[in-house]
Amino acid sequence: MNAARPYLAAFSSRFLLMLQYRAAAVAGFATQCWWGAIKVMIYAAFFAATPTAAAASPMTLPQVITYTWLAQALLALTPWSADPEVALSVRTGSVAYDRLRPVDTYSLWYVRGAAWMASRALPRAALMLLGAGLILPLIGLSDWAWRPPPTLAAAAAFAVSLPLALALSAAFLMIVNIIVAATLTDRGVNVLFNSLIIVFSGNLLPLALYPDWARTALLVQPFAGMMDIPLRLYVGQLSGTGALAGLGLQAFWTVALILLGRWAMDRVMRRLEVQGG
């Protein structure tokens, strides 16, 4: 337990600090409501346009709508950009302090990054649940609402999958951080990974709605575990052995990315030049 203490402290201090940015959370929520509403209306129009294709679709319209609100609510849980604290410490040279601390730098950055994402996602998700899950049905728009999971099994699978998604996202965030440490700037890498994440995490469009020939490839790539797999489990689109496979994929990619990150970090830290003075 003693070995874990500094990391727990780092997690909770970052988590509580980031929770203070309430205006940012409200602004983010407003943005996500707008995007969510546009998407929901467009999906509804497509499903209504071609009933045969809608019937053959791997996801029903209510599933897609719930998926869309959840994806907007959990947006901050995907590693959109390098941890700004790490980017800043690399630029100013304070990365040297992190190297001097008697803790493992990889683990320290990892828990800090996980806390950063979790604390940004939590208030936004709560507001979205209130707006899309409670207020929409109350004003008579229950067709457009965020619905509860269909079965207890789906809820349980989601409850297991969501922390795995955070673990996987944090592992990927570390790879981005390490690239920033090696190249000293977060500008290029953020632009590059943003597009990858928006497409392959299912944020742009639920991965199941892409053409059927791409289905397997889209499911086994690492970004699916950051958002698409937990959301599919929630709406019940993945169940039974499919659900177990989804959780397995998440765990596999988390371990693989952590191993890759640790290896890369060793190499980068060995030849790290500290900036500033």
């Binding site: 129009a45 346009a49 469009l205």
Partner: protein
Amino acid sequence: MNSAALLLRYFSASLRSQLQYPGSAIMLGIGAFLTTIIDMLAAWALFDRFGQVQGWSLGHIAVFYGVVSTSFALTDFFTRGFDVFGNEFVKTGAFDRVLLRPRSPALQLIGYEFRLSRFGRLAQALLVLFVGAAVVGVDWSPDKVLLLAWTITGGVALFTGLLVLQASFAFWTTESLEVFNVLTYGGIQAAQFPLSLYAAWFRNFLIFVVPLGCVAYYPVLAILDQPDPLGAPAWWLPTAPAMGFVFLSLSFLAWRAGISRYTSTGS
């Protein structure tokens, strides 16, 4: 020196400074080209699965998207100063210096930066526009080319108006309000689909509050030779882009009101 010459001087200075880093400029341009490609990806996948929506095909969507995205790309070249106005001018007090110079603040802000990297977005938007038009068989007669140019001009006016309005709000909030990105980037997303897909309240918002529909949906219907499925009269379709200029004028009223109550943050 007259305003146009001064603006040219500003732009050439900005271009020269960006070309000091040619690699960065080229990569940002290519990056912008690639990241905007994904704007069309979701539409492509949906049409692949559902075939059509209310009689519209992917080609139609490409024309709607291309027109509105071209307008935004052109606007983005010269409105950087308004975009960063809150954080870099009001908050820092740098706007005091702008006010001291014997030229209009708006002109100086337009001259703040000419963003070379936006060529990537412009190239992508024009490519999508003309490929889409070819697929649905638009016959580019001179009056249609003229209508396209008028539509894009109206779109540039509307997006410029949005950015001026965003900057005006900074007089009250001191910070740049990133919520406005919802109306610019989110507006492109919304305007790439025909208004008839949306619920009435959202449609009315896009016609009467932020008239994105007037600089994309209506005139593009005229370019595509389609009547409005919602029943707008035929004369309105090519007239609608004028609303972009109405919006721009109202934004400048807000801008004037903001300047007249500006108090420096000091320092």
